[in-house]
């Protein structure tokens, strides 16, 4: 993944709770075998409404999505993260994220910014009124600043994940540093555990 240090840009307000990954990218789009090109399918159903926030020209070019709690609930499809990234989002701000979605974000390099409900509400309200409000998210300092919205807050990001964002590190490479330990663990696994290649005679 690409290093992410600071994100500065305008934001799109999506005032909805429990936005599930079926809404973020409908299953129709999951037939593709590529990792790119999902931006067109982002919120596909809702986008058929001309009033939907992503269809409003005043929110063109935004890089931050601000939304209600429990964002990304439901299916494990990482395509939801790819769709948000492909559309141009680099961070999602919400009072809470579903577990798998949050993990998928950190693997793919989309920054999940969890802020308290008051900060999220203030930001939503400000961006709904003025699409030009600029949001600055600093990964190193774990801060979100939107001066025009009167929001200055911190967000949780464990040291390890922060380091991976800052350096743009590949998780697989990091895990393989423990190759010796993996080999040792495998040597101690009981032989009776199931293997795809071995079927009991019936």
């Amino acid at each position: 993944m690409e290093p992410v240090r600071q994100i500065t840009g305008t934001a799109v307000p999506l005032r909805r709770a429990d936005v599930d990954t079926d809404q973020i990218i409908p299953s129709e789009w999951l037939k593709r075998v590529e990792r790119t090109g999902f931006g067109q399918g982002l919120f596909a159903e809702w986008r058929s409404d001309p009033e939907f926030v992503l269809n409003q020209p005043r929110y063109k070019g935004a890089s931050v999505l601000v939304t209600g709690p429990n964002f990304g609930t439901g299916s494990s499809r990482e395509h939801a993260v790819w769709a948000l990234q492909d559309y141009g989002f680099r961070a999602v701000v919400s009072p809470s994220f579903a577990d798998i979605f949050r993990t998928n974000c950190t693997k793919a390099g989309l920054l999940p910014v969890q802020v308290d409900a008051d900060a999220a509400e203030a930001l939503l309200a400000a961006v709904e009124t003025d699409p030009a409000v600029v949001v600055t998210i600093d990964v190193e300092a774990r801060t979100l600043l939107a001066a025009a919205a009167g929001v200055s807050t911190t967000f949780p990001l464990d040291d390890f994940t922060r380091w991976r964002f800052l350096e743009g590190l590949d998780d697989i490479g990091l895990s393989l540093r423990n190759e010796q330990k993996i080999v040792a663990y495998e040597a101690a696994r009981p032989a009776w555990m199931p293997s795809a290649g071995r079927v009991a005679a019936t």
């Binding site: 909805r16 709770a17 429990d18 599930d20 079926d22 809404q23 409908p26 299953s27 129709e28 999951l30 037939k31 593709r32 075998v33 590529e34 990792r35 159903e45 209600g68 429990n70 609930t73 439901g74 299916s75 494990s76 499809r77 990482e78 395509h79 809470s96 579903a98 577990d99 798998i100 993990t103 998928n104 693997k107 793919a108 464990d158 040291d159 390890f160 998780d171 697989i172 990091l174 895990s175 393989l176 423990n178 330990k181 993996i182 663990y185 495998e186 101690a188 696994r189 009981p190 032989a191 009776w192 555990m193 199931p194 293997s195 795809a196 290649g197 071995r198 079927v199 009991a200 019936t202």
Partner: protein, 477 residues
């Protein structure tokens, strides 16, 4: 020495989840996530192509093809298996999985194979899912396998690639949540109703960051199929995973399955499996208690799985919901679902019934539905479909004559797959069609654009197909 969960003599009391976790830690360091060993990786066509691509780009192999099993389920048709797929994009995805499995040496149960089926149905069925294991799959309902006392959870495609390459996964230890369900279930109330009632109570975020252990006398007296139904929907409560400590019901179900240990190995395995319980005095971070004796069959009315009522109830009034956010999402849900507050659920007309999905497509589910429809016919204008969870379930059901009961009653009898659970293949709802579905998600458009999904048990789905509106088996007798 065998690693895995120990008997834990003389240590702090531990939860089952913590035992499984500790038994699979390959590497632990301050400030880093734990690196967990993965005993079984299940793969399907939708969340794997980009992962295999990643391996190719980096010149990596699949580390343990022997611990990896693939099937085709999400995007496959459930009729006309001998015909070429009508949709070229779907066909390409299916061919891609076959090519990837051939290239990387992964066992595949392709479309039409006797062992093919929904990934969470075939793992247990083949005996690949066993107590004490860590199991992952690029699908959130991997939590199903927790019914056997395994730590099983869904992952995204980047993690699929990670497991393919390393057979490990960096993870943060989740918190422990106990859901204790005691008492005998009233007649007509099933495992599906238990889990819907729980989600209604704790909400779709109620389990976030936690692994749920289901405990209590109700759980102990449930069959493996019922336990799988409950663990399956842990994810709908927001939990990372769900699990049930293994017991004699588990062992009896597993014995003799193709991948189950045999002879002296079976005895060794049993010894280990019997240690997989939460120790007396172990602490949970959260606990919820449910009285099974007061439960009724449940039906969802909204667009997330916490929006449920007992079937004797009515569509709720959003104005009566105290929480402003929840009231707003209820209002939006009623508009989408085309429902009026106050309408008794039994008066809501239904035009489609889907019996299937990894929640309720096992033989016991089909038997329960068949018992209701036997000798009767679905109501006029109803479209009803049974999609067995696997080809093995299909064959077993046909051997018992269930297929004839269903087709005589006017149901379509299909081949195995996810089908209308997610509407990726041609089995879909048309806009505004209203479906009583035994699946797990009632999100907007989940079963087809504009379609309206109500989550129910197989018994209620069957009774509803006969009645033309939501009904219980007693209603139609």
């Amino acid at each position: 020495m065998e690693r895995l969960a120990s008997h834990n003599v003389g240590q702090q009391p531990q939860t089952l989840n913590d035992k499984l976790w500790d038994g699979h830690v390959v590497h632990q360091a301050e400030g880093e996530p734990d690196l967990l060993y993965i005993d079984l990786h299940l793969v399907h066509e939708v969340t794997s192509p980009q992962a295999f691509d990643g391996l190719r780009l980096a010149g990596r192999a699949v580390r343990r093809p022997d611990l990896t099993v693939a099937t085709m389920d999400h995007n496959t048709p459930t009729i006309g298996l001998d015909l070429p797929l009508a949709d070229p994009v779907s066909a390409k995805q299916i061919e891609t999985l076959a090519a990837n499995c051939a290239e990387f040496g992964v066992t595949l149960y392709p479309m039409g194979h006797a062992k093919q089926g929904i990934v969470h149905v075939i793992g247990p069925e083949q005996g690949l899912t066993q107590p004490g294991m860590t199991i992952v799959c690029g699908d959130s309902h991997t939590s199903t396998h927790g019914a056997f006392g395994a730590l099983a959870f869904g992952i995204g495609t980047s993690e699929v690639e990670h497991v393919l390459a390393t057979q490990t996964l960096p993870q943060r230890r989740p918190a422990n949540m106990a859901v204790t369900i005691d008492g005998d279930l009233p007649a007509g109330v099933t495992a599906k109703d238990v889990i819907l009632a729980l989600i209604g109570r704790i909400g779709t975020g109620g389990g976030v960051g936690h692994v749920i252990e289901y405990r209590g006398s109700t759980i102990r007296s449930l069959s493996m199929e019922g336990r799988m139904t409950i663990c399956n929907m842990s994810i709908e409560a927001g939990a990372r995973a769900g699990m049930v400590a293994p017991d004699d019901t588990t062992f009896a179900w597993l014995e003799g399955r193709p991948h189950a240990p045999t002879g002296a190995d079976w005895e060794r395995a049993l010894d280990h499996w019997r240690s997989l319980v939460t120790d007396e005095g172990a602490m949970f971070d959260k606990e919820v208690v449910i009285d099974a004796t007061s439960l009724r069959p449940h039906v969802s009315w909204g667009t997330n799985p916490s929006q449920v009522v007992p079937i004797d109830g009515a569509v709720p009034d959003p104005d009566a919901i105290a929480d402003a956010g929840q009231a707003e999402s209820a209002r939006r849900a009623l508009t989408y679902m085309g429902l009026q507050a106050g309408t008794p659920m039994r008066e809501v007309p239904v035009d489609t019934v889907f019996i299937g999905s990894c929640t309720n497509s096992r033989i016991e589910d089909l038997r329960a539905a068949a018992a209701v429809v036997d000798g009767r016919h679905i109501s006029a204008g109803m479209r009803a479909m049974v999609v067995p969870g696997s080809m093995r379930v299909k064959a077993d059901a046909e051997a018992e004559g269930l297929d004839r009961i269903f087709t005589a009653a006017g149901f379509e009898w299909r081949s195995a797959g996810c089908s209308m659970c997610l509407g990726m293949n041609p089995d879909q709802l048309a806009p505004q069609e209203r479906c009583a579905s035994t699946s797990n998600r009632n999100f907007e458009g989940r079963q087809g654009r504009g379609g309206r999904t109500h989550l129910v048990s197989p018994a209620v789905a069957a009774a509803t197909a006969l009645a033309g509106h939501f009904a219980t088996p007693e209603d139609i007798r």
